[in-house]
Symmetry: C2
Subunit: 194 residues, 2 copies
Amino acid sequence: MITKIKLNRKQQIIEKATQLFQKQGYAATSMRDLAGFIGIEAASLYSHIKSKEEILQTICFQMAEDFFQSLDACELANEQADVKLKEAVVSHVEVLTRDTAASAVFVSEWRHLSEPYLSDFLSMRNQYENKFIQILIDGNKAGIFKALDAKFTVLALLSSVNWMPAWYKPNGKLSPREIAENVTDVFINGLKVR
Amino acid sequence: MITKIKLNRKQQIIEKATQLFQKQGYAATSMRDLAGFIGIEAASLYSHIKSKEEILQTICFQMAEDFFQSLDACELANEQADVKLKEAVVSHVEVLTRDTAASAVFVSEWRHLSEPYLSDFLSMRNQYENKFIQILIDGNKAGIFKALDAKFTVLALLSSVNWMPAWYKPNGKLSPREIAENVTDVFINGLKVR
DNA sequence: GTAACGAACTAACGCTAGTTAGGAAAATAA
DNA sequence: TTATTTTCCTAACTAGCGTTAGTTCGTTAC
């Protein structure tokens, strides 16, 4: 009984590649490595994909799309800046934890994209970060947030959260939302008892 | 007039390699690349170094030593936990910004170390993180810090700060100490006006 | 002046990389 | 059953990898 395990070879290739790219890095992962783990020959991969880089592109741009979609799904129009920030970070962390391997690749392997994909990627990332920056700026104008370099602060916030895939265990005690709420609480209210 | 530019070839090799490892990653940087930038043949590198990995080892362990040395130099024995934490982060950021390229390599290329160097490296890193964790635990016991998962919080804090080398410009408006103080202030007191 | 040394060179080694071509086998459709 | 399409194979190619061997050549030491 074989059942229909073989949903889609291409999808399986991308999934395994994601794991290997996370563990070893894109450049240090060979097509023979990848094929071996799947149980076929390296050349056979090319019946399903066009190139090694296509895999990386798929991972990176799929994740980018997920981040945008999740952020857009938050209804933030009528909220205060601190609530907005919290919800935005929760959305971000939920995407991050949904597939930690893909997230890790997204965070640290994008630089191996070639042009014009690299430029596209960076411009999308910039656009995404700007949404967070705007929340901080608005929050400051509204007297809710301190006057800090908004870009700098957002980068610090996202960096702290982007490295979660490296240590997040899906069976841990905390849900993604709880984790995100903890992190944002520290950022918004601080570590200190008051 | 040639003057004595050639301070030390080995040092020059390591410096250039550091830049390339940062920009392209360790695995994606070839010895011919490196040699080309220096202006010699790849084979000639081996008059000065034993292997490609030796360069990575030098960078990673030199940085590790710097971090420990800088942290140990802080006199924290009689301070409150929040001051301790602030000083520890300042020390960390000062090392990070002293050589941003080496720091970036230290942060993201260590996984290409082979055994036993990899294990040594990770155990040192663990030891280092534990010093921060202890500060949080003590601070909580003393009623200064909230009750949070200390390890989790430290990793978030260090991650947020470890990605500074990627965007820090030495000629920026803020000194390393000011940057570190800003970051720690957010972490300790929060983003919110009170 | 000659011996010794350091740093560079050329040439090549063995290996692995990503990828292509062409055909066999297996799965699917008619 | 036959035809078609999908999947995988073997074999091979070119390019590049890290590294070694052996040599040349200028500088330094006696």
